[in-house]
Amino acid sequence: MSLMMPAPDRTVIDGRAALLAELRRLLPADAVIAAESALAAYECDALTAYAQRPLAVVLPRTTAEVAAILGTCRARGVRVVPRGAGTSLSGGALPLADGIVLSLARFNRILEIDLENRCIVAQPGVTNLALTQAVEADGFFYAPDPSSQIACTIGGNVAENSGGVHCLKYGLTTHNLLGLEMVTMDGTVVRLGGGKALDGPGYDLLGVVTGSEGLLGVVTEVTVRLTPKPQGIGALLAGFDSVEAAGGAVAAVIAAGIVPGGIEMMDNLAINAAEDFCAPGYPRDAAALLIVELDGPAGEVEAQMDRVAAIMTRHGAASLKRTRDEAERLGFWAGRKAAFPAVGRISPDYLCMDGTIPRARLPDVLKRITALSAHYGLRCANVFHAGDGNLHPLILYDANVEDELAKAEAFGADILRACVEVGGVLTGEHGVGIEKRDLMGEMFDDTDLAVQQRLKCAFDPGGLLNPGKVFPVLHACVELGRLKVSGGKLRFADLPRF
């Protein structure tokens, strides 16, 4: 493992028996997992390249139990890694050798469905899809739809500020949350946001906790907004001879003031992988394929489809298909939704990257990815949320070939550097976690990071909650408080990195 985690605290590891005894005193017998065989299930999340057995796993059922666990861990200096369904692609739930995993799996109940106020109050372990399923029959849905929605939990979505295919129109998790109940590391239970109201009082702690990757507190209840299901949905499928032309078409759609439900792009390798996998009827010879989905009041969808079709043609679409019914629409999506398993079939392993760039820089960045692919001798299939510039290059490699994982990681890091260089960011929706932690310096200087870490200190002065994630250098809070800057440079810039 090339990745360094904080040095384990020997005294904590030696105190494991006493910790377990204390946890068993606080929790029902079935809520503490300590057997080696059972711990194995928790040693990694969806970033499977990294694994670590934790000291123990706890499975509380109530907010009071979470508060008791955190209180005890704080008193004993034990690190805590919160975990939802473990679908993080950035290693956000990677355990620590001297820490416990706090699983929210048993917080799996929907507490209230309030259709009048168009919201659901749920426990964090409820899956994203279950929220929509609970209100579908009444004509509503929960809008953010990450591709892992069948498994990922709403608590995990809050931690990562998850997006999905439809966030272009409906926003990310952060735009669809009303309130949270959260327990801080000292065991205090706080309510953030406005409850069922849109605006909360005070500082926007709801906003800053969303996407904080489990570093600020443990969320124990979530209130999400519901959206009425659109009357009509239609989609267009357009093939282009060049990525530039497809990119131009995307820009023109947005510039026309049209807000599609989603715009997805796939490159030639991804198109062919999908065709081989499930034959959705994509044009195999296209350099780039666009799927544009429009939803809204029925008449408006038709009018907008006309406008989008005209834009596609004007930008040189070599092929253009328009859905006539629901089955056809799902067919258009089948290949895109299967893109990851399809790529999985043409390669033993792949790394999924997640940078975001200004839309106009897409052709430029794709050219660089092609050049990097040749340089590293690794193939790369590209699927994008083109409407918001969020790239998911899939780097194909074989973990059984020596050095190929390291090469793939270096390739991925170069892609993310390119994203930052053109004015973009390291991660659009998967989170920093451990995966992009050591690249944070590409985007932020030491002062930027010190300011962010002081925020962490306000919530968790002991640095016990999910340490080793997001920040490349761990400073003690007391040291951050003393940091003096001059001309934007920290005096202690040469502190050792762990």
Partner: protein, 400 residues
């Protein structure tokens, strides 16, 4: 009162660092048009940001703009309109509410107060559109957070924290905002002659429908006749945006949805825009003159019933509901506690909170403008503030 008006970022950072060292409070000001919002700042020096104005980069195709916080909203609106775009969160012009000229407010002020217009339920507030910031912390450090793209989870979402912090955490010096296209056409349906209870129920049905209304408000009769597009009776107003051809169909769908509940009048084009601008800016709709103006944030289905209840319990209440009932504006006499005790208790029972948006100085001495949080939360906020501004020099007193 000393006025510090740094011309460069370095100078600004130096001034703040110096103030930090000497624990000297600063009143951070853009155009100053929103100084009446919140409490008076306890500082003997003004930090004037007027040099941090102007558009730095604007790429219409990316729908993103980077600009100085002291850029006037009026100028910004013009530049965006020329490119067929707008700020989707539609910040109100609060100047006239506070006795200032119209059109003088800055984008920085609107963001610092996390303002938003009638479109908030769908379009979001300032917090949802601030993609990135450069700022100077209360220690005098220059830092940046967020980015210039819409989808970004790299590091904490500090822009959300900056929005609505009233300049008490850091001095914003540069901001990147997300923009939206202007709709090809708009229309407003006025559903007439509804009492508050009927209106409350009907607004939820419309908000929960697939008609994609972009704004829903209720004006009781006496308010409706003050509107720039005068209405003859109490009205639920529903705004639609979209291609011209689709709007007639939307009105017909709305008719079908509400059945024969109320007669419907269509308000078109500029009249529609002006009506919503009035609801956004409030000034012309509710009576003025030494009164208290409350802004309530409540679950939408509870809004109209709460307003009626407060109207019964307190003398001289005038009100209107925006956001399908989720936001209430209440105007009442500003003597005694300006209704604070009754309003805050009643708002709390429905799960909301109340801000004393404007009130006579004497009233603000008695009544906190912002609702005090529960103990655990208050402590967290205090620690958060100290993390950014340990000496408490940025706009002290502003939040109470």
């Amino acid at each position: 009162m000393e006025r510090l008006a740094p011309r460069t970022l370095t100078d600004l950072a130096g001034l703040v660092a110096d103030a930090h060292e000497r624990a000297r409070p600063l009143h951070v000001v853009g155009a100053g048009t929103r100084a009446g919002l919140g409490h008076a700042v306890a500082a003997d020096a003004v930090l004037d940001l007027s040099a941090f104005a102007g558009i730095e980069t604007y790429e219409p195709t990316e729908q993103v703009i980077t600009l100085g916080p002291a850029t006037p909203l009026a100028l910004l609106a013009e530049v965006l309109a020329d490119a067929g775009q707008r700020l989707a969160f539609d910040p109100p012009d609060t100047g006239p509410l506070f006795g200032e000229a119209a059109g003088a407010g800055t984008i920085g002020g609107a963001v610092a107060a996390n303002l938003s217009g009638p479109g908030r339920p769908r379009a979001g507030a300032a917090r949802d559109h601030l993609l990135g910031v450069e700022a100077v912390s209360g220690r005098g450090e220059i830092f940046k957070a967020g980015g210039r793209v819409v989808k970004n989870v790299t590091g904490y979402d500090l822009p959300k924290l900056m929005a609505g912090s009233f300049g008490t955490l850091a001095v914003m010096t540069r901001m990147t905002l997300r923009l939206a296209g202007r709709p090809p056409a708009t229309v407003t349906a006025a559903l007439l002659d509804l009492d508050a209870d009927e209106a409350g129920r009907l607004m939820q049905r419309i908000a929960g429908s697939a008609l994609e209304p972009v704004a829903i408000a209720y004006l009781p009769a006496e308010i409706a006749v003050r509107a720039r597009h005068p209405l003859s009776a109490a009205a639920v107003l529903v705004r639609f945006e979209g291609p011209e051809t689709a709007l007639a169909e939307r009105l017909a769908d709305l008719q079908r949805l509400i059945g024969g509940t109320a007669p419907v009048e269509a308000i078109e084009g500029p009249d529609s825009d002006e009506t919503w601008a009035m609801i956004r800016d409030i000034a012309g709709l509710l009576p003025d003159g030494g009164r208290a103006l409350w802004r309530l944030s409540v679950p939408p289905a509870a809004g109209c019933a709460l307003a009626r209840r407060l109207g019964r319990e307190l003398p001289g209440v005038h009100w209107l509901a925006d956001w399908a009932g989720g936001r209430l504006w209440l105007s009442l006499p500003g003597d005694a506690d300006g209704g604070a005790a009754v309003i805050r208790a009643a708002t709390k029972t429905v799960g909301g909170h109340a801000v004393l948006f404007r009130g006579p100085l004497a009233l603000k001495v008695l009544v906190p403008v912002f609702e005090p949080g529960e103990a655990g939360l208050a402590l967290l906020e205090q620690r958060l503030r100290a993390a950014f501004d340990p000496a408490g020099i940025l706009n002290p007193g502003k939040l109470g």
